[in-house]
Symmetry: C2
């Protein structure tokens, strides 16, 4: 989590991308965007977003221009250096290719060790919940812009893989 020279946290990278690609001009709007659409990964908590933007501004990758409006609105944009840093973050193949944190995968070897009845209940509940997630994601995906759509499509693929895996377990 050391934040020196060039490396960004996932949240920081996402914030830069949001500002650059979607022209989200204020911290408030960035937060809103995270809360509404990226809620899969983060909550967009004020206590995370505002400090992150402060860090990025201090590092010179975000330019914060006060508007003098009564609401205290501060317009955010990327400096040229910020664009470079953002692109490096997007193109970091090592990080992009790492498997990440997956609560399903983490538990996947343990369901089989449960008492039989408990296991059967758990698998059934799991299947229902995954199916519900897929339905929700499918309904959600139609309304999305080009940045968000792949994210949700990949989430659907992940859930379908889980469903397949659950089928395989039932067969064995």
């Amino acid at each position: 989590m050391n934040n020196r020279q060039g490396s960004l946290t996932e949240l920081e990278g996402a914030i830069l991308s949001e500002i650059h690609h979607r022209g989200a001009s204020t911290a408030f709007k960035v937060r809103k965007a995270f809360q509404e659409s990226m809620s899969l990964e983060w909550r967009g908590s004020a206590g995370a977003v505002y400090p992150a933007i402060r860090r990025l501004t201090d590092r010179g990758v975000i330019d914060a221009a006060e508007t003098g409006s009564g609401r205290g609105t501060v317009l955010l944009s990327l400096t040229p250096q910020g664009v470079a840093v953002m692109e490096d973050w997007i193109c970091d193949a090592e990080r992009a290719a790492s498997v990440g944190l997956d609560p399903f995968r983490l538990r996947s070897g343990m369901w089989d060790r449960l008492p039989p009845v408990r296991k059967a209940e758990a698998m059934a509940a799991l299947r229902r919940t995954v199916e519900a997630e897929i339905a929700a994601l499918r309904q959600y995906v139609v309304s999305l812009d080009p940045i968000e759509r792949p994210r949700i499509e990949l989430a659907i693929s992940l859930q379908l893989t889980r469903l397949d895996w659950l089928d395989g377990q039932r067969a064995s």
Copy 2:
């Protein structure tokens, strides 16, 4: 992250499972197991594992029995309540079915917005890295016990899905 009544962090749940299912009897061995085989998700840092075990012991779900050996070895086991708490964690369908944190998915909408040359380079590097990950996982999976194997098989499935997705991008 509030840790009251029944709820466990992912690390805490994994620790309980490790102790119960694999009979990992000391904090040291739990750490080792995380470092060696679960490194996909965590580092098994001392600063995470020891405090987590302390929390679980204080909550009465782990029984810590000192052996009086010169090395200060403390044998860990689950209390009956601990087994119940662990099973609840394993069977938590809401959490198991959530998509988790995925650095690939997070970036997936952004590669398309890069300058064409940069994009082509990034996609090529990504493909190479994902393929290397798959090769490494396939080599690794043969040597695993029944708890670990599904985890790695699902990681391979995830990487294959990514590869498919990259193919789809190249086609369009």
